[in-house]
């Protein structure tokens, strides 16, 4: 019988180590998700399906084109608050609780922590997306043409939102300021964004701003995958969303790498 030997100290580099870190972080994030999963789902349903219904109440009787527009905006409205409001406030919450530094002390590459967050938020957006669309389509009795493009549209939209939220959460040091920013985003998205109504209704300067901001483009790629003939030149929107995602990653890399 040989004496049990101590396990060799693990290598702290290489793909296997990296993948282990990623799996570990994903498990960690999933486990901490138990706390906020329920409010998360409620927020998605309220913001997506709820807003689709609310716009309907405001507008009264809607012609079918308007209803289609409102309903195909609903899933976008469900995705935005997850990444852009909930993600940064979770990070801000950790800063307030003092668990933020603990997260970075975990023995995993920081990149895996970021990727784990992106994965989780992207995947979790899907059910809310489907529910919002289903409820809106049922309420307005719509006949939608769902194409395979819906998959990249949802993935890119939610990845973009999660990336921007993650970057804001890490780059802005003050938790209170993060809260102000997220509330502002929600306000702008709900009231002043061409998601559920056409950009032609907007005054010129605001429409111009929305060609640079990501919200209108999210609505565009999603709407293009659900309808035919409502959206033109959707590839431009994919490009803009891709640019926002890349920009957010750079900002996050700077913010995360900067710390100590």
């Amino acid at each position: 019988m040989t004496a049990p030997s101590l396990p060799a100290p693990p290598l702290r580099r290489g793909i296997a180590y990296w993948l282990t870190g990623y799996r570990g972080m994903l498990r960690f994030d999933l486990a901490s998700a138990r706390e906020w999963l329920v409010p998360f789902v409620i927020v998605q349903i309220l913001m997506g399906a709820g807003m689709a219904l609310i716009y309907g109440f405001y507008l009264g009787d809607m012609p079918i084109q308007v209803a289609t527009f409102v309903a195909t905006g609903a899933p976008t409205l469900a995705v935005i608050p997850l990444g852009m409001a909930l993600a940064p406030s979770l990070i801000a919450g950790r800063k307030v609780e003092g668990t933020y530094d603990f997260m970075w002390s975990l023995p995993v590459p920081r990149l895996t922590a970021a990727l784990s967050s992106y994965t989780l938020f992207t995947v979790l957006a899907a059910p809310g997306f489907a529910a919002a669309l289903g409820i809106a389509a049922w309420r307005y009795d719509l006949d939608l043409h769902v194409s395979a493009w819906v998959v990249p549209a949802v993935l890119l939209s939610s990845l973009m939102a999660a990336s921007v939220g993650f970057a804001v959460g890490h780059a802005v040091a003050q938790p209170a300021l993060v809260n102000v920013i997220t509330n502002l985003v929600i306000f702008v998205v709900l009231m002043f964004s061409p998601i559920a109504f056409p950009i032609e209704n907007f005054p010129g300067w605001l429409a111009a701003a929305h060609r640079v901001l990501p919200f209108w483009h999210m609505a565009n790629v999603v709407r293009a995958s659900l309808t035919t003939g409502l959206v033109e030149a959707v590839w431009q929107s994919y490009v803009v969303l891709g640019a926002w995602t890349a920009g957010a990653w750079f900002l996050a890399a700077w913010a995360v790498g900067r710390r100590r």
Binding site: P39, L46, G50, M51, L53, I54, Y55, G56, F57, Y58, L59, G60, F187, M191, F192, P194, A196, F197, P198, E200, N201, F202
Partner: protein
């Protein structure tokens, strides 16, 4: 005394609250133009008058309970009740504070609406009791809610739902006919629709029918919420 206390403890959030009130009130009025493209006069009239009600009641019904929840979480709640003043004055001080905070937002929202849309308003003296009763009831319902519920998280969750209900699922900013029948029927007995009706009746002519009933329903809610608050506050210790 208690008014000064409330104002002082609010000074951190005071400025922000007033700004948020003004921005959201005015923002709503303007955002409507984006929903519709061309805004029908009736819709403009409903939103412009409804927004006043929203700005009047959000502080009492949403912010107020959240502040109480915060006090409970921070454990300053019991300290407040140990202050040597009658508990009624604390409640009335809160109502007064709300009046001071709510009226500027309301005035700005109305002003923006008048500039942006060509409104057919008929201001009457009935606006004064309507605003006062709406504010009082909204504040007291929020007060009763905040003090009757023990769990701060629950209070925050409920008030956040309330924002959605106020803005989206109650006939404040749009006519009740645009809601599904069952929801419209339910709102005949909830305080939100009567608040909107009484205020709107003070600002317009021929839009609101049967204001007397609205005053009665609203009055009943005011009395009930004062009763609940009194019972809960009397009970402690």
């Amino acid at each position: 005394m208690m008014v000064r206390w409330e104002m002082t403890s609010l000074r951190m959030v005071l400025a922000i609250t007033v700004i948020v009130q003004i921005v959201s009130g005015a923002g709503f009025v303007l955002a409507l133009g984006l929903f519709f493209g061309q805004v029908p006069p009736r819709a403009a009239l409903f939103v412009s008058t409804g927004v006043l009600v929203v700005t009047l009641i959000t502080i009492g019904l949403v912010l107020g309970p959240q502040l109480v929840a915060l006090q409970k979480a921070e454990k300053t709640y019991d300290f407040l009740w140990s202050l040597p003043v009658p508990r009624t004055t604390a409640a009335l001080a809160w109502v007064t504070t709300n009046l001071v905070l709510g009226v500027p937002g309301m005035a700005v929202a109305l002003g923006v609406a008048l500039v942006r849309y060509d409104l057919d308003l008929h201001l009457s003296a009935a606006i004064v009791p309507a605003v006062l009763l709406t504010l009082f009831t909204g504040t007291m319902v929020g007060y009763a809610l905040a003090h009757a519920l023990g769990n701060p998280m629950l209070i925050v969750a409920i008030t956040q739902m309330l924002i959605f209900v106020i803005i989206g699922f109650s006939p404040i900013n749009f006519p009740a006919e645009q809601l599904p029948g069952w929801l419209a029927a339910l709102h005949r007995w909830l305080p939100l629709a009567p608040m909107a009706d009484t205020v709107r009746a003070g600002l317009t002519q021929g839009v609101v029918a049967d204001v007397a009933r609205s005053y009665l329903v609203l009055g009943a809610w005011a009395v009930a919420s004062v009763g609940v608050s009194a019972a809960v506050l009397g009970r402690r210790e």
